[in-house]
Symmetry: C2
Subunit: 330 residues, 2 copies
């Protein structure tokens, strides 16, 4: 099993470092005594939020830059031991409305970063945040890493391309890379301003505001949910493990939970609120994937990872965080 000691004093770059997962990772890296550089484009529609790193601001270096710029990328990558490549556009809906923006954020950005590694720092280890979206609508459940990939939207196509880049640079150019296919991740420091980045943060916002949650369809769609700290733990293990080089791992949690059950749990934790079943809007229905939950046995076996935070706990911490810091997220 990987030892996280290797992160101590290690020079780490986190792309998307002021975003949801990047900023939670930054907190953990600081606690591990790593040397942390965060880069974020602060794209207005993406998840970067300076408040996310306010509490560790004096212990991390922060750069606002667009990774598509080759010179910036080269300068950022040089001399790093680890790169946590979390930058990207995550809205499925936005990718369908502006596929070119998604192409820039999810393809060109990663090619630029990997080309910079190839040119200036082949010794680096890169961990990439991929997504279950690459599978599209599951052929069988639970979905393991052998499952066919057939993404249903442009975001999934580009995230898959990004994952393949990382695999190819590992194989062909010997820039070591690992990809994690994240499922629904929730927790503090997520983008809460609009509802285009998935239902989870939006439901949490509605619950906190005591507004009615509209649950699409019959609410029986199954999903698995990871609290962000568990995802951060997986990223660190992937970074620290040589056995993970060139590999792709699912994250996940069991048992899977229906959206209705998730919502009920959330309302219970929030101490009130209500939900209603509503018909799917057509633009969401057509890219919806039905039931999904992962087989995460591979990362369990190879990296000793398991999710540790139960849903009720995680939702509790999440609701508490946003209640305390609402003005920075709403």
């Amino acid at each position: 099993m990987p030892h996280l000691d290797v992160l101590r004093h290690a020079r780490c770059l986190v792309t998307g470092g002021m975003g949801f997962i990047g900023s939670n990772l930054a907190h953990r890296l600081v606690a591990l005594d790593a040397d942390v550089l965060l880069v974020d484009s602060l794209h207005p529609d993406h998840g970067g939020n300076p408040f996310n790193v306010a509490a560790v601001r004096d212990r991390v270096e922060v750069t606002v830059a667009d990774l598509c710029d080759r010179d910036s990328a080269a300068a950022l990558v040089r001399g790093r031991d680890f790169i946590f490549n979390l930058a990207g556009q995550v809205s499925h809906l936005d990718s369908m409305r502006d596929p070119f923006g998604d192409l820039e954020a999810n393809c060109r950005t990663h090619l630029t970063l990997l080309e910079a590694c190839r040119a200036t720092n082949r010794g680096v280890k890169v961990v990439y945040a991929s997504t279950r979206q690459v599978y599209g609508r599951p052929d069988y459940l639970p979905v393991d890493e052998q499952h066919a990939v057939h993404p249903t939207d442009i975001n999934g196509v580009h995230k898959l391309a990004g994952e393949r880049y990382h695999k190819i640079y590992n194989h062909v150019h010997h820039v070591r890379t690992t990809s994690l296919r994240l499922t629904n991740t929730y927790g503090p420091r997520q983008l809460m301003r609009h509802n285009r980045q998935g239902f989870v943060p939006w439901f949490i916002r509605l619950a906190i505001d005591g507004e009615e949650i509209g649950l699409f369809g019959d609410g029986e769609q199954l999903r698995d949910f990871n609290y962000v700290d568990d995802v951060v733990d997986a990223l660190l293990r992937a970074a620290a493990s040589d056995a993970a080089d060139g590999e792709v791992f699912n994250l996940g949690a069991s048992p899977a939970v229906s959206l209705r059950r998730f919502t009920e749990q959330l309302l219970e934790v929030a101490g009130g609120g209500r939900y209603r079943l509503v018909p799917f809007p057509p633009d969401r229905k057509i890219i919806d994937i039905g039931d999904y939950y992962a087989d995460y046995g591979k990362i369990e076996r190879m990296l000793g990872w398991q999710p540790h935070v139960p849903l009720a706990d995680g939702l509790g911490r999440t609701v508490e965080y946003y209640r305390r810091h609402k003005e920075h997220y709403w």
Copy 2:
């Protein structure tokens, strides 16, 4: 089985229309009495060659334009009944050296074209030339369309993304599309100037010039080869068939032939020349896919397609063509 009569007087756009397959298709469309518009960027490293369409120049309209330009794309797409989307960068090696160029040619171009269709012409039918390269190194043989996709190079990643775009625009935006996964295609009007677009045209050039052919490895790698007229026939059937909408089809030929046997056949047809086994250069070995041949039963069943031109015949016509028109290709 599809009736090609629907092409008669149909307004057809061929992207990459002065390239290898595009120009052969143009000849066939003219013979079918279609209304033909060819667009080509004439990118210096790609396959576009004005001589390819010289013989039909007075019966087709030709535009030199970059499809990445959204205004050009919209103007070209408007009012068309069929689009044969053959534009692209096809060199695996070039994609590894210049992944950004490949991204433009094989991703942005297709997104631009499909967005133009969505905006101005949802009634159009689009046929996309994909490639066996999306499969990468086969898990089993023959490779059918259910085979996992795991491309080994950047070109394969981007061609797969292009194919997925077409599938998504069919499913979500109701722009009807069909993709064909081409295998090794050979014949008149191919790019013969450099050896970065696959071994087939290069071997043909060396055979015609009486120069020694260097065959990588032991020469026993199996491949399937399609003469370009058979590929053109598949493109037309895909266009004319409603059953093909949203589908992906392998092309192929049986039996598979070893590279050594292909080379011997070529030398026989060319009436001389020689070959030698040479070790794989590292940059080619690392993206080599080993044996490959397709199961093309799906297109046989659904569209009644079969390859008709035997290898010896096709090579004979090919060698004769380049001997006659060498000055336009060498």
